[in-house]
Each structure stands twice: as C-alpha cells, then as structure tokens.
C-alpha cells in the first residue's frame, strides 16, 4: 500500500476514549463467550453420551459465564470511577468537512467531567490488501450490562428448559444450540469492531433459525424459520453495505490507513464531526435496515410473531430478552454514527424515532387481536423494541438501555410464564384452551401478573421507571415543567403515551383470558415443577426491583449516591460516544403516564372483568368476548378488526407478492430467457459452425487439419477402447477448425491493429 496520505496533512490526535490497560478480567472478557462455545462443541459431539443429554454441561458453563460476568461487572464498577491509565489516541487527518464545526470544538474526551475509558484488547485476525484486521473485545458499560442480562437469562432458560423440553426428540441438539446462541450473543456484545459484530450478528441469526425450526418435521415450523432467516437477510444487506461504507470513510480520515472496522475509531470520528455527513447518513440508514429486521421494527417485523413456532424457552431467550435487542444494541454501540448521521440532537423528527414510534403502535395494536398467548407477547415485544428504538431516536440513550435491561427480565418472565401455562394445557390458544388457570397454577399466575404490571409500567415496578425515562427523554414535555432532551420530539411523546395505554389494556385482556374465568380446555392442568417455578420467581423479582437501579435524580426518592446508578455505570462518557443531553424527569409526566396506564387497565378491565364476566355467568359458560360486541355492531370496527387480523396485510405483500413473485414468475421468466434466448443462441452458433465447418473442411488446407486430427486421435486412443465409441471424429473436426480459425484470426488482428 503506497502511503500518500501521510504527506497530505499534518496529523492531529483524537482521543478515542478507550484504553488498553485495566484489570485482568476486563482485558480477558473473551473468556465469557468462550465457555458456551466450548459447551456447544462438546454437547454436539458428546452430548448424547452424557447422562443428562448435555444439558448439565450447558448449565454448568453458562453458570460459570454468569459468575464471570458478575465479577467483570464488579471490575467495571471499580474501573469506571478509579481507573487513571493511558488513553488511546488515533492520529487523524485534520480536514474539515464543512459541517464539523458544531461538534468538533466540543473537545471530546478531554472535556468530560469524569471520563470512563472502555477497555479494548485485540489480536490480529487476518490480513488482506495490506490491511490488518483484528478481533477483540470492547468492554464498557453497555457491554457489561449485556453480559449480565444475556448470561442470567440464558442460565435461567437453560434450567427452565430441562423441564420444559424434557423427553424431546432432539433434547441434546436443543441445548447445543442454546449454548451456541449464548456464545454468539456474548461475542456480539463484546465486539470490538463492526466486522466481528457482523459475524456474530449472523451467527445469532442462524441459531434463531435452527431453534425456530426445532421441530422441523412440521412444515409451518420450517416455514417460520425460513421466514425469519430471509427477513433478517434483507436487513443484513443493509448491514453489509453500511459497514462497508463506514470502513472506507473512517479509513480515509485516518492517515495511512486503508479502512477501519474499529467501533471506537468509527464512533470517535463520527462524534467529532470528522466524517462526511452524507456518507454517515447513508450508512446510518443502511444500518437501520438491519435494525428493522433483527429488532422486529415496522415494516420488517413480520417474522417475529411467526418465530413463536420455536420452543417457548427459545422465545423467551432469543425472541424477547436477548437476540432481538441486538439491533437496539447495535444502535447503542454505534451511537456516534447514528447521532451524527441522523442529526438526532436538536431535531424534532428523524428516521429512527419515526420507525420506533410507528413500530410501537403497530405492535401494540396487533397484540389486541391475538388468540395465541405467545403471539400477544411477541407483538408486545415488537412494541417494546419500538419503544427502545424510539428512545434512541430521540437521544434518550440511557433510557433505551435501561428499558432493554428491565424488559429482558419482565418479558422473559412473561414468556416463561406463558410456557408454563401452555405446558399444563398443551396449547397456546387462550380462547379455546385456557381460562381460570389462576386456581391451579398460583405461582405462574402471580409471576405472570407481576410481569404484566411491570410491562404495563405501573410504579414501582421495573417497566415504569424505564418507560418514564423514555417519555421524559423525548423532550416533548416542555409545556408541563419537564426540560431537556435532545430536541422536541412531541410526536414521539404522544406515540409513547398511546402505546402505554394500549399495553396496559392488551395485557389486562391477556391475563383475563388466560387466568380468569373458567377453564375452557381439556384435561386437568396442574402447576409446573420447581425447575420452571424458580426461574419464574427470580425473573418476577427482578421485574419488581430492577427499576430501582436507575432512580431518577431530582425526585429526591433516594440519597444522591443511589440515584441514576445504571446511567452512571452504563452510559459511556468518552471520546467514542457523542455528547448527549439528558432530560430532567418531572412529577407531572410521571403522574400523567401512570394515569394513562390506569385508564388502559380500567377500560379493558371493565370490559373483561365486568361485562364479559357477567355475560359468562348469564350464559353459564366461560366466554372470551361479549356475544354482541362492538365488532358485531359497528361495520367500521369490524373492518378495523379484519385489518388487524390480517396483520395490516404485510404478510400477503411479502410472502405472496414479493417472495412468491420472485420465486414464481420472475425466476421462471429469467430461466425461460436462459433456455430460449441465451442457450438457444449457443446451440444456433454451434449448428451454424457445423455447417460452415463442413464447407471449410472440404476446401481449406488439408495439411494443417490432418496434422492436428491425427495428433488428437493419438491422444484419445490412449485412453481406452471405451472412449473411441464417442463421436470423437466430430469433436476433432471442430477442434481442428477452431485452431485453424484461431491462427487466421490472430493474423488478422495483428495486421489490423
């Protein structure tokens, strides 16, 4: 590589906000994903010979990974406040891209009150085109938080699964893939560069594919798996392109460098305004496509409800608590890129906020019409992921991460609870096979209700705190005393409020249909065993108290040393992170949002607990809706219901028109062209050559032709009696003609040009 750039400009130093020092645990975080990776390989090859089919190894190694994560978190807490080692600086080209002014003078890295240096450690992966590519870990607040969430939920899901999939035909495979998933997800959150992120991003996708299709004998399951993988591939296209763009624009800002995948460098340069804005915008939009598919954002969300075809523990771990937040995590990870690229600061609308806001409404509205308890939760997950993306879109980074954190617990709790109920009744259909389960499954009932309250966001449960921070973070509450935020995203505040009411309402419906009324199914359901109940209670406990980790400042609810602990340790204050403005929470907003939630509960509660219950008593059977409900009375409501039942017709568009069209008419047409045009012209050319050849052969230089014919005749006669039966004569003729023609053509070419 010829290094001309070093001549071009005097390099300046950009602090990256990372260090290569730090304690041993922080520098060797790669051990954490390594454990489940080992578990995967061992279970795959030896699992069937183990007494418990490999599950014991999976639990043990994920358990150790969890303990290591706790120790790493402790090390990070110490590191965050007490580390004073050397910071890595990158020499950059001191070029001004015009728009850099507003960010550049902010003095990143140096200007922060108490910088937190992320710990980076890398080794060389490969070298191509004279560029070295590294693989390594980037340990900072969000990474450590994700380590804890992933290992904890994974551990609980492992334990839960030993009972839930007990006796399954592919018990060992199931645990092998859980391990592989844990390894990939842990690698994803620790990724030091975007290439590594892309790699683990695809690997978690494959695990998701394999686990959705766990019972692949039935076609709907493998269809769902295919749909998930393909939809994600559509998004990955954006990821590939986005990562490529970033690689080159970062490279051109670093003297003597061809390109760079480094997350710290990318973010630091983007945050310092040293990257061209248009390219950043394009890259951010491309990456958004990946977020939309992985994190189930409208309009690439349709795979997620179908993904519920997989076993319920998988839904809890992968399609609620961890993998689907990979998109959210990726935004958080590359926040410098998104913050600058989409101009999040000081604006009132942008792509990310809109996508998140629309998704949150779409998800919540679709959750209303589901019969399948897991689908309710799936749409709820879409809606909550929309919340997180919207939060990131309005600049409320910490709120989004905090919501990710709390959501992981209460949503995993709900999913596992739904699994416990379904395990008892052998069905997921709330309307025909559930009802009245509170009497026989008290633990499942209590934990499910706790999870629902946390999801709906009533104080003091976890969801309340994180949801309220997001609403405050929109900065749209300026009228009523709240301040701050990065802009005036009033529209997003409204969307968030509406969703809050809807969430409360559909969860009320879900709780009623599952646990209240009278049992409508067959058989005698009974409470699940301890390996299911204990994880449920642990998650329910976290759903109650996790919110206390980030008590807002200003409410005087706790001494200052206990306020905003989550934000303090998780939000990076470093060169690779943009300077974001924090919103101030307000009592008025908290009260209003609580009232909104209560209103949602009240409306749905009055319908189900009041009128449906009364109608059931009158009819003498357990009803799930009023016999003369609004959809029977109003044509408009009926049409609305049809629209929702058909999922806004998106599946028709994707499966029927786009996929079906490509697979059917488009591919068929392309193939017809291939056979009838391209291939036909080849045959035609051959036929013409044969007739022309006959003519030429009779007339032209017999000496040349004969010589070559004889030579090739000798070659072929060596290869045995069999071979001579082939039409070797014809082949030799053609060969001879072609060689003769070649000589003539070469002569012509030399003469002419």
């Amino acid at each position: 590589m010829i290094d001309l750039l070093t001549l071009a400009a005097a390099p300046a130093d950009l602090p990256l906000g990372v260090t290569e020092g730090g304690s041993w645990l922080l520098r060797n975080a790669w051990l954490i994903p390594l454990l489940p990776a080992l578990s995967f390989v061992t279970i795959l090859f030896f699992g069937k010979r183990m007494p418990r089919g490999g599950s014991e190894l999976g639990i043990a190694l994920v358990g150790i990974a969890f303990v290591l994560s706790i120790l790493t978190a402790a090390a990070w807490v110490d590191h965050r406040d007490n580390y004073h080692g050397e910071e890595v600086h990158a020499p950059v080209v001191a070029v001004d891209h015009g728009e850099s002014g507003e960010h550049a003078e902010a003095g990143h890295g140096g200007g922060h009150a108490e910088p937190s240096l992320a710990v980076v450690s890398t080794v060389t992966w490969f070298q191509a085109g004279g560029v070295e590519f590294s693989v390594g870990t980037l340990v900072d607040g969000p990474a450590v938080m994700m380590l804890l969430v992933v290992t904890l939920v994974s551990l609980l899901v492992h334990i839960y699964s030993t009972e839930y999939v007990h006796g399954d035909r592919r018990y060992t495979h199931f645990f092998a893939f859980l391990s592989l998933f844990s390894a990939s997800m842990l690698m994803l959150v620790l990724s030091e560069n975007t290439l590594q992120l892309l790699t683990s991003w695809e690997l978690v996708g494959v695990c998701s594919f394999a686990l959705i299709g766990h019972w692949w004998e039935e076609k709907p399951n493998s269809d769902a798996a295919l749909k998930a993988f393909l939809t994600n591939r559509v998004g990955d296209m954006g990821l590939i392109v986005g990562v490529s763009i970033l690689f080159f624009i970062v490279g051109s800002a670093l003297p003597g460098r061809f390109g760079s995948f480094s997350i710290a460098e990318t973010n630091a340069l983007a945050a310092a305004g040293m990257l061209p804005h248009t390219a950043l915008l394009v890259a951010a939009c491309c990456l958004m496509a990946a977020v939309m598919s992985k994190s189930g954002q409208f309009f690439l969300h349709t795979w997620l409800p179908d993904a519920m075809a997989g076993p319920t523990p998988v839904s809890a771990l992968i399609h609620a608590a961890t993998m689907v937040v990979a998109g959210v995590f990726m935004i958080a990870r590359l926040y410098g890129v998104f913050f600058s690229g989409l101009s999040i600061g000081g604006s009132s609308v942008n792509l990310m906020a809109v996508v998140g806001g629309v998704t949150t409404l779409v998800g919540a509205s679709l959750a209303f019409v589901q019969r399948d308890i897991k689908k309710v939760l799936a749409y709820s997950t879409i809606s909550q992921l929309g919340y997180m993306v919207m939060a990131l879109g309005v600049g409320a980074w910490t709120a989004a991460m905090f919501h990710l954190f709390t959501h992981a617990f209460f949503k995993a709790c709900l999913f596992l609870g739904s699994g416990s109920a379904a395990h008892a009744v052998h069905s997921f259909d709330m309307k025909s096979d559930m009802g009245g389960l509170r009497k026989v499954m008290p633990h499942t009932y209590k934990t499910f209700v706790i999870g629902s309250i946390a999801l709906a966001g009533l104080p003091p449960f976890a969801g309340f705190w994180s949801k309220d921070e997001i609403l405050a973070g929109t900065g749209g509450w300026g009228l009523l005393g709240g301040t701050g935020g990065n802009g005036a995203y009033t529209l997003m505040l409204v969307m968030g409020m509406v969703t809050a009411a809807m969430t409360a309402a559909y969860m009320t419906r879900c709780v009623y249909l599952t646990f209240h009324g009278e049992y409508r199914g067959h058989g005698e359901p009974h409470e699940s065993g301890p390996r299911i109940i204990v994880p449920l209670w642990i998650l329910a406990g976290l759903a109650m108290v996790a919110g206390l980790l980030n008590l807002p400042s200003g409410f005087q609810l706790a001494p200052e040393s206990l306020q905003e602990r989550f934000g303090h340790f998780v939000e990076p204050v470093a060169g690779y992170f943009p300077t974001i403005t924090h919103a101030t929470p307000s009592w008025s907003l908290a009260i209003v949002s609580t009232l909104v939630v209560l209103a949602g509960v009240a409306v749905a509660g009055r319908y189900y607990f009041g009128r449906v219950e009364a109608a059931s008593a009158a009819a003498g059977e357990s009803l799930t809706e009023l016999p003369d409900g609004i959809t029977t009375r109003s044509a408009l409501a009926r049409r609305g219901h049809t629209l929702l039942s058909n999922k806004y017709y998106l599946d028709h568009l994707y499966t029927g028109i786009i996929a079906g069209g490509t697979k059917g008419p488009v591919a068929a047409a392309a193939y017809r062209v291939n056979q009838n045009v391209i291939d036909r012209s080849v045959d035609l050319a051959g036929e013409t050559a044969v007739s022309a050849g006959r003519f030429v052969y009779d007339k032209i230089d017999q000496v040349v032709v004969d010589g070559i014919v004889n030579a090739s005749g000798r070659v072929s006669s060596d290869t045995g009696e069999e071979l001579r039966k082939i039409q070797s004569g014809r082949v030799q003729d053609y060969a001879a003609i072609l060689f003769a023609a070649a000589t003539v053509l070469a002569g012509i070419l030399i003469v002419i040009v």
Binding site: M1, I2, L4, L5, A8, H97, G98, W125, F126, Q127, A128, G130, L198, T199, E202, L203, W216, E217, E218, S222, L226, F229, L230, R233, M237, I240, V241, S244, I245, F248, S252, P276, T278, A279, T662, V666, A667, A670, Y671, I678, V682, G686, V715, S716, T719, G720, E722, L723, I726, R730, V731, Y734, L738, F739, A741, A742, T743, A746, L749, I750
Partner: protein
C-alpha cells in the same frame, strides 16, 4: 530444514500423476483394486509433495515466484518450460492436490456406470496434471497447453460416465470452452508478436507491454480475446449455459472437480495473465466485467429459484458465486482480488461438497427431483446436518469459508481501483448485496425441501437410504474441516495471497482511490497505465462527501 524441492518440486508434482497413469496402463483393467490403490497412492503422493511445497514456501515473500524452473522448451516458437509458484497460485494448487484424493476416495465404491475404474481413474490423474500445470505455468504457450489438456479428460468423463443427455452436454462443454480458448490463443499470439518479446514468459511480455507501448486499441482487443477465453471458463453471464448442462450430466466426481478446480482456471487466468499483462485495458474492461458479474449474481440466483433438480440448482448457484469472485477481480484492488482468490477456494470446497452430497443423494434416492425429496434429516441425520452446514457455508455465513469470499468482494467494490467509475461500482455493491438475500432464499428453500419435513411415502421404508458411509466420511470430513478452519481463521488463505496479489497489480491501481492527486499519480508513472484524471475517483468521492 533446507528447501529440497527447489528446482524440481513443481515438475515432480505436475507429472507424478502421469507416472501413476503409466503404471496403471500396465495393469489389466479387471484388477480394479490395484487401480484404485495406485491412483489413490499417486494422488496422495502428489498431495504430500504439495505439503512439502507449502512447508518450504517462503511466506515472507509470497509475491516472488518460488521453485522456479526455466528451461527452453520448444525452441522454434521460443516457448519456455517456465514454472513457478507464488502466493496467488499456491492456494489453488493445494486445493487441486487436496480435492483429487478426496474424489478418488469417494469413488471407491461409487463408480458410475459403465464403471471401468481404470479408465475413470486414469482420466482423473490426467486431469490433475493438467490442472496443476495450468496453475504453475509462467509461459503463455505452456499455460495454453495445460489449459487444453484439462479439457479432454473432462469431456470424456462427461461423455462416457454422464447422465442421459451426456452427449449433448459433453459436446457443448467441449466446444464452448474450446471456442473461448481459441480466442485466448489468438490473444496470446497477437500479444507475443506485437510486443516483440523474446519469449512467451508472462513477466517478459508484461514488461514489453509497458515498454513498447502496445497501442491502446490493440490492448483492448487482446484483452477482449482473453476475456472470452477466461470468461467462458468461469463461466460469466452470458457464457454460462454450458455449465448447468455439464454439471447435471457429469458423474459426481466430475461435477466436483469441475466446480472445485476447473472453473477457477478462468478466474485464475484473469488475475494471472489478463490483468497483470494488460493493466490499461483492464481498467477499460473492468466496469463491464463488474456489470456482467453482478448480472450473473442476480441471474444465477433467479435461475436457481426456477430449478426443480438439486444438481442443476447447485450448478446455477456456481454462476452466482463466480459472479462474486469476478466482482472482486473487477475492482482491480488488491483487497478485491484477495477476496476473489478466497472466493475461489471457498467455492471449490463448498460447492464441491454440495456436489458430493447431491451425488450421494442420487445414489440413495435415484432421483434429484426436489419435489420428490424430503426428510433427509430423518432418514440420514448426519448427512442432513452436513448438507445444512454446506448450505449455510454456501450462502455466506460468517464463521464458514464462503463468507470471506463474498463479503470482502462486496466491501471492495465500494472503493474500486483508481480510474474506475466509483458510482458504478457502488451500484454493483448494492446489487451484489441483494444477491446475498436471493442466495439465502434458494439455498434455504432447497434445504427445507430436501432435509426438513417427513420422508415422502415412496422413500419412507427404503433400506437404500442409509446415513453417511465410511468412504463418504473419509472424503468429506477433511473438506468440512477446511471449510470451518478457513471460516474461523481466514488468514490461512489471506496470508498466502496478500503479498502476491499486491505484487501482481500495477502500483497506480492500488492507491486509495479517493486520495490521489494528478501530480502524485504523475510521480508514480501512472500516466503510462491510464489517463490520469479520466473519471478519476477523487471527484466522485468529493461528491459523496458533500
């Protein structure tokens, strides 16, 4: 240890298979077991030499030709026996030496009708000589001879051991490629005469092209001839139609060798001969090559979606995959060409494996009609797993070899070499990215139909459908291990190719596209290679930056 192979290692490796052939000719045809042993021993011996060649290969100087032999060969036409190995050819030579023994092991009990192991194995060994020879040749005539030697055994393999339509397929394969090689020969001859070179050696001709200043028009025409010769072999859209027929009709091992090695002769020709010898013409042609490459990616994928036969589908997927390789080459950057070589190796291993699997399925089910298959995972779980892994590798899953050919090729087209139209290549990048989605579509669809679900009634209790046999394991396990190993640690290949690719490319092409000013280009002597500033990258980049 001292390098014992210097000076004769390549010759030994190239012609050892012919020694094996000579021995086999002396053994009567009915002693099948002996033929198998001799053939296997020969191919393993060649592989052993390959390992030694690798061990003594100087990794510090992958850009330098090593193990060089330079002797006068045919004095009259000043053709030399000039052979050597550098980092660009080494991975492909090793791939050849690796795949051939696997094919022989696989054939052990699998000889297609009309059997005759003697002739079959002799053909494989002759093929091996031709393939290795093509990769080591450093002289145009020598290259051409080896390039053509490959053609005949493959022709007979398809024509004798092929499927029902073997005559048409084999003839088409033979004539189509021969047509291309004729034009290639025209180009070689024209180049030799126009440069007034003393020999056909690549390096000498390249130097003479730069020094004598062969006219631009002549260069473009000559490149065109090579483009057809190599492009048909790759095969590039729209010259690909021989491929599905040849693959579908060829016996399993023939398909494997065809996919694993033969297609690479074309792409190798581009990076070894066409581009280094004619850099100026390469710059002119590159956008068109890139265009055909991305058309091939999409077109091949659509072709796959329309297929009803497993083998034909895999054949069409080769068109798409080789499109990625050609896209990497078309960028003319060392990054892109590294990706291309990786893509060649990966495609060789992965598609070779897929053809092995298709062949084994055909042995069991006696049909490859997709609509009739199903439930492979139920009846032959291990085989289903292997199929799943290969499908994942083929669709470019990170962690498996295919990814490292695909992603870097897409990446490199964001920033093509100096003098190439940046916007055009960025469009190619997006189109190629769409191709990855389609690839996932047809491959997963294939996986679903073949492996998932319950076995259809007609095969449900068929005792012929057994899991992977011992011979299959022996042939497949090493390939699978390599697919994973390269996927996890791509440096296995990149470390070898990087220096050589860098050395093969003209300096002016390699500078970061965006950052070269006219004056700097002048200083590097780039004016001789392309017209400085003509559609130069920096203007486009500035546009993107605003």
């Amino acid at each position: 240890m001292e390098n014992l192979l210097d000076g004769w290692g390549i010759t030994l490796a190239t012609f050892s298979p012919l020694v094996g052939v000579a021995i086999m000719l002396l053994i009567p045809g009915e002693r099948e077991e002996r033929h198998k042993v001799v053939a296997l021993a020969t191919s393993l011996w060649v592989a052993f030499i390959g390992v030694l060649l690798l061990l003594w290969f100087d990794m510090g100087e992958t850009g330098r030709l090593q193990y060089v032999v330079d002797e006068m060969w045919i004095d009259v036409i000043r053709s030399r026996y000039l052979v050597g190995i550098d980092g660009m050819s080494l991975p492909l030579i090793l791939l050849t030496m690796f795949i051939v023994p696997m094919c022989i092991i696989y054939s052990w009990n699998h000889f297609p009708e009309p059997r005759n192991p003697k002739a079959f194995l002799i053909l494989i060994l002759i093929l091996e000589t031709g393939m290795i020879g093509t990769f080591v040749a450093q002289d145009m005539v020598l290259f051409f001879v080896f390039f053509e030697i490959v053609l005949l055994p493959m022709f007979f393999m398809i024509a004798v051991w092929g499927g029902d339509d073997r005559r048409y397929a084999s003839l088409k394969f033979f004539l189509f490629t021969l047509f291309g090689s004729a034009l290639m020969l025209v180009s070689f001859l024209a180049l030799f005469f126009l440069t007034g070179a003393e020999s056909f050696a690549f390096t000498e001709v390249a130097d003479n092209v730069l020094a004598h200043g062969v006219s631009r028009t002549a260069q473009l025409w000559i490149f065109g001839g090579m483009f057809l010769g190599f492009g048909i072999k790759v095969p590039m859209f729209p010259f690909h139609t021989w491929l599905p027929d040849a693959h579908t009709q060829a016996p399993t091992v023939g398909s494997v060798i065809l996919a694993a090695v033969l297609l690479k002769l074309g792409t190798y020709g581009f990076i070894r001969i066409a581009i280094p010898l004619l850099p100026e013409a390469a710059v002119e042609w590159a956008p068109w090559i890139g265009l055909l490459a991305v058309v091939g990616i999409i077109y091949g994928a659509l072709g796959c979606l329309a297929q009803t036969d497993v083998k034909r589908l895999i054949a069409f997927s080769s068109v798409a995959h080789m499109g990625f390789v050609m896209l990497g080459i078309a960028t003319l950057t060392d990054f892109g060409i590294n990706a291309a070589i990786m893509g060649m190796v990966a495609h060789g291993l992965i598609t070779g494996m897929l053809f092995f699997l298709a062949g084994s399925m055909k042995d069991r089910y006696h049909t490859l009609e997709i609509s009739r298959l199903g439930g492979l995972l139920v009846q032959a779980p291990r085989m289903g797993w292997i199929f799943g892994i290969c499908v994942m590798a083929s669709l470019g899953l990170p962690g498996l070899a295919g990814f490292w050919g695909e992603f870097p090729a897409i990446l490199s087209s964001y920033s093509p070499a100096n003098g190439l139209p940046v916007e055009t290549f960025r469009t190619f990048m997006v189109v190629a990215a769409v191709g990855t989605v389609l690839a996932a579509g047809y491959l997963l669809w294939l996986l679903q139909r073949v492996a998932f679900g319950n076995p259809p009634e007609e095969f449900a209790d068929n005792p012929e459908i057994v899991d992977v046999t011992r011979h299959e394991w022996m042939a497949w396990a090493p390939i699978l291990a390599l697919i994973v190993a390269i996927g996890v640690y791509p440096n296995l290949v990149f470390r070898v190719t990087d220096g050589a690719v860098d050395a093969s490319l003209n300096d002016c092409l390699q500078v970061n596209t965006a950052e070269l000013t006219d004056a700097e280009a002048e200083a590097l002597g780039c004016a001789a290679v392309y017209e400085v500033g003509s559609g130069g990258g920096h203007d486009d980049h500035a546009a993107a930056g605003n």
